[in-house]
Amino acid sequence: MLIFQLISEFFITGLFAVGGGLATIPFLSAMTTKYDWFTTETLTTMIAISESTPGAMGVNMATYVGVHMMGLVGGVVTTLSLVAPSIIVICIVAQFLNQFKESKIVQSIFYGLRPAVVALIVVACSSIFMQVFLIGRTFENMQLNILNATVFLFVFVLYKWKKLNPILIIVMTACLGILLQL
C-alpha cells in the first residue's frame, strides 16, 4: 500500500541521510527510479520551493512528496516518518553526549562517510543537471542547451561574487525564465 511505502521510504531516509537536507536528495532521486511517484523535473521544482520557503529544506521536501502523493495526510505521514529516527537517535545520544563527541569510532565513521555523502549528492544532482542542460532524451541526439548554460554561468558568477541570498537566486532565475521564454 502506498502509505506504508511512503512511511518506510521516509523513515529510511531519515535514518540514513547523514549531514542534513542536502543528504536527503540522493534518497529522493532514488525514489524517482524505484517508483513512479514523481519525475526529476518535479524533484527540481521541489528543491527550488524547499529552498525558498521557511523551514529546514529536508523537512520541506519530505512534506512536498507526501502532499504530492496523498494530500495533507500524506504530508503529515512523510514528515513524521522523516523526523522519527532523529527523535529516537538524538534521545539516545543525548544520554551520553560527551562520550559520543569524543568517540574515536564515531569520528572514524564520519571520516569515511563525508566523502561518500558528497559523491551521493553529486550523482543525485547529475540527473537534475542533465534535465536542465541537455536537450534530447536519447544518447544519440543529445545536445547542450546553450541558452540555459549561459544563464547558469551568469547567475553562478553573480551568486558567488555578490554573495547573494539563495531565495533571491530562485526568484531571479524564475524571472529570467519568463523573460527569456526558457
Binding site: T44, I49, P54, G55, N60, G75, S86, V117, L180
Partner: protein
C-alpha cells in the same frame, strides 16, 4: 504543560522565520534559545550542531530535538520537533496543492524552467562547499570516487554506499593507521 507548549511555540517560530535550515538557523537560535530563554549556552548549541551533523536526519531538527530533550525529556524532544516541522507542513501543503493548478500556464512553465537553472547554481555552490569541508586527503578522494561509481552504476544503492563508507572509515582509521600509515 505550559513548558511543553512553550517549547513547541518557540521551535514553531524558529521554523517559520528561517530559510534553508541548518546553520542559517543559528543566529535566530542564539537570540531566542540562548539569550531570551536561557535554555542552553552557546557551547551547548555548537555541540548540538556538531553532533546533529553526524547523526542521521535533518540538522535543524536534530538541534531542536536536543534542546527539547534536555529541557523536558522525551516528550520535550517530541514537542520541539513537532514545532519545527509544523510551519513546513502548513506552507508546503499550500504550495504543493496550489501549484499543480497553475502548472500548465505558459508563464509558470517558463518560470519553473528558469528555476531549474537556479537550483543548479545553488547545488553547485553547495557541492563545492561540501567538497572543501569533507575531502581532505587522498583516501577521501578514493572513497569519493568509489562511492561515485557505485552510486552511478546502481541507482538505488544509497544505503549500501553510506554503510560501506562508514565501515571503510573505521578500517582506514583503525587498521591502516595502526600499521603506521601516516596519510590519515
Amino acid at each position: 504543560m505550559k513548558e511543553y507548549i512553550e517549547l513547541y511555540l518557540l521551535w514553531f517560530k524558529l521554523g517559520l522565520f528561517t530559510f534553508g535550515g541548518g546553520y542559517a538557523m543559528l543566529p535566530l537560535i542564539e537570540r531566542e534559545v540562548i539569550e531570551k530563554k536561557g535554555w542552553s549556552t552557546q557551547e551547548e548549541i555548537l555541540d548540538y550542531y556538531a553532533i546533529g551533523q553526524c547523526t542521521p536526519g535533518i540538522i535543524a531538527v536534530n538541534v531542536a530535538t536536543f534542546v527539547g530533550y534536555y529541557r523536558k525529556g522525551i516528550l520535550g524532544a517530541i514537542c520541539a520537533t513537532l514545532g519545527i516541522i509544523s510551519p513546513s507542513l502548513v506552507i508546503i501543503s499550500l504550495i504543493a496543492t496550489l501549484l499543480p493548478q497553475f502548472q500548465d500556464l505558459a508563464i509558470v512553465q517558463h518560470a519553473l524552467s528558469g528555476v531549474g537553472i537556479g537550483v543548479c547554481v545553488l547545488m553547485t555552490s553547495s557541492i563545492i562547499k561540501l567538497w572543501k569541508g569533507s575531502i581532505k586527503d587522498k583516501i577521501g578522494i578514493c572513497i569519493f570516487v568509489v562511492s561515485l561509481v557505485i552510486a552511478y552504476m546502481i541507482k538505488t544503492s544509497t544505503i549500501l554506499v553510506v554503510v560501506l563508507a562508514g565501515i571503510c572509515g573505521i578500517l582506514v582509521k583503525n587498521v591502516v593507521r595502526s600499521k603506521g600509515d601516516a596519510q590519515c
